[in-house]
Amino acid sequence: MKKSSTLLTSLVVGLVALGVVSNAGVVQASTATPNPTTADSTDNTQLTASTDTTVKVNGGTMSLYNVKDSINFGTINVVDAFTNNLSTKGDSNLTASVDDFQGVSDASDAWTLTATLGKWQAGDGGTAAGAKVLDGAEVKANGTTTIGTAAVDYATGAEGYTDLAEQSISLETTANTLLKAGTYTNQINWQLKATVDSEQK
């Protein structure tokens, strides 16, 4: 009986220790591939104190994560696109998180995240003419912000942690658009940058 109790105690202690080490049950991103979904903020703000009480704060870094690696609009019917104005929603919403722990700026727009759409490319069964037709369509975030070939400011923010509000993404075509069958791909280039001061002189 005593032996069993000792075993039980060891197991419980072991389980607690294991829980601490493995974070079992906590939802966390995979970092097995170069596609992180959580920022590593362990060295974001390092404090080093010396005996004469001066404190030096070393700035941290800035990072972008939690963005979906692709968005699919599925299959669009050629007849539907020709006869109606269509707004085809993507299979997932736009999400993004930005960490800015550089510790230098008080500005409300210390960083800017821009989005730029490329030109459509024909894939399997697609044609160059079909890609050009899609160039005339609009890609919109939340039905309002057009993501086009000139970079658009998608979001700005202050230093700290910012979890951007989810936004739907849609491909908008107007009636009389004659799509061509096939696979078509495009890219959105997301660029995170320190904002040049609006009073920069």
């Binding site: 995979s30 060295d43 692709s70 968005i71 800015d100 069964g125 160039d135 791909t185 995170l192 920069q200």
Partner: protein, 307 residues
């Protein structure tokens, strides 16, 4: 009775043992998402002009060389390859500073920042490692009375995600830009703006009115607001557009665009374009957004639409 308790305890021990073994196999739940696989922080040099900026804004004499250092951290468990590009800052057609453009070089630009920055254009970071990347900015050999504006762009070299066969899809790519601004001495310059005549163009099947704005000055045009009113002189139909919070790079240009209907009636259109820039509380020019600006530039021209 004692046997029963011992059996119960054995069962409990067995359950805990299974739980312990199971926890080795059931790893934390994962979410597939993407982003930049690295974090970046500029290491500001001693000749930094403003310490509260998270980008390079330096004062450096002619022909001098300044180290542009970036602390780059791989936050993944895989090695990461990064491409580094040196760019000249331009202004895109949304009136925003742009680090990715392949725009025609502005005719007023004296020095391309991308020609003055040098360094490795590729780096590889082992898993979970941090490194200091270093590029060099060499100022022009003779004194330059103005601002040199460019940037360092870092992008991971990875294969893009694929779109399913027969479908329409978008893949996301990521990059990080660090502005680089430099001047020979700590002085400022007055901004200038030029408005060109508007033209009707068709881009990707859309009719647009294009008006070129040019910043011929060696400094930024800040807090730019454009108000445009287009009137069909026959029908008196009016089209309007206004945009605020724009910013132009030194010696750069962009085309302000106003969308017009697909079937635009023929006739003569009057285009009135007013640009305001540099906000100040007691400045002389009041714009449509009820904000006051130090500078205003106005142009009026006519565009003829034929059948």
């Amino acid at each position: 009775m004692l046997m029963d308790k011992e059996n119960q305890l054995k069962k409990l021990l067995m359950a805990l043992l299974l739980l312990l073994i199971g926890s080795f196999f059931f790893r934390p739940q994962t979410i597939q998402a993407a982003g930049l696989p690295f974090q970046v922080m500029p290491v500001l040099p001693s000749n930094q002009r403003e310490p509260d900026e998270a980008y390079f804004d330096i004062i450096a004499p002619a022909n001098s060389q300044t180290k542009l250092q970036l602390k780059v951290k791989n936050i993944t468990t895989q090695p990461v390859k990064i491409r580094v590009k040196f760019v000249t800052l331009q202004t895109n057609n949304n009136g925003q500073l742009d680090y990715n453009m392949k725009q025609t070089r502005d005719h007023t630009l004296t020095y391309d920042a991308n020609q003055l920055i040098s360094g490795d254009q590729q780096l590889t970071l082992p898993a979970n490692s941090t490194t200091i990347y270093e590029a060099q900015l060499r100022m022009p050999a003779s004194n330059y009375d103005g601002i040199i504006a460019g940037g360092l762009v870092l992008e991971p070299i990875t294969a893009a995600a694929k779109v399913k066969k027969g479908q329409i899809g978008i893949t996301n790519r990521f990059s990080y830009a660090v502005p680089v601004i430099a001047r020979n001495e700590d002085k400022t310059w007055l901004p200038k703006l030029q408005l060109a005549s508007s033209k009707l163009v068709q881009i990707d099947y859309h009719n647009q009115l294009k008006t070129r704005l040019n910043n011929p000055s060696v400094t930024f045009v800040n807090q730019l607001r454009v108000e445009q009113v287009v009137t069909n002189l026959n029908t008196k139909k009016v089209y309007r557009k206004s945009t605020s919070k724009m910013q132009m790079a030194p010696n750069s240009h962009f085309d302000y665009r106003l969308n017009l209907p697909e079937k635009i009636p023929t006739g003569t259109y009057q285009v009135v374009t007013t640009a305001y820039y540099v906000k100040a509380k007691r400045a002389g020019y009041l714009a449509g957004n009820q904000q006051r600006y130090q500078y205003r530039q106005k142009s009026v021209n006519q565009v003829v639409v034929t059948g």
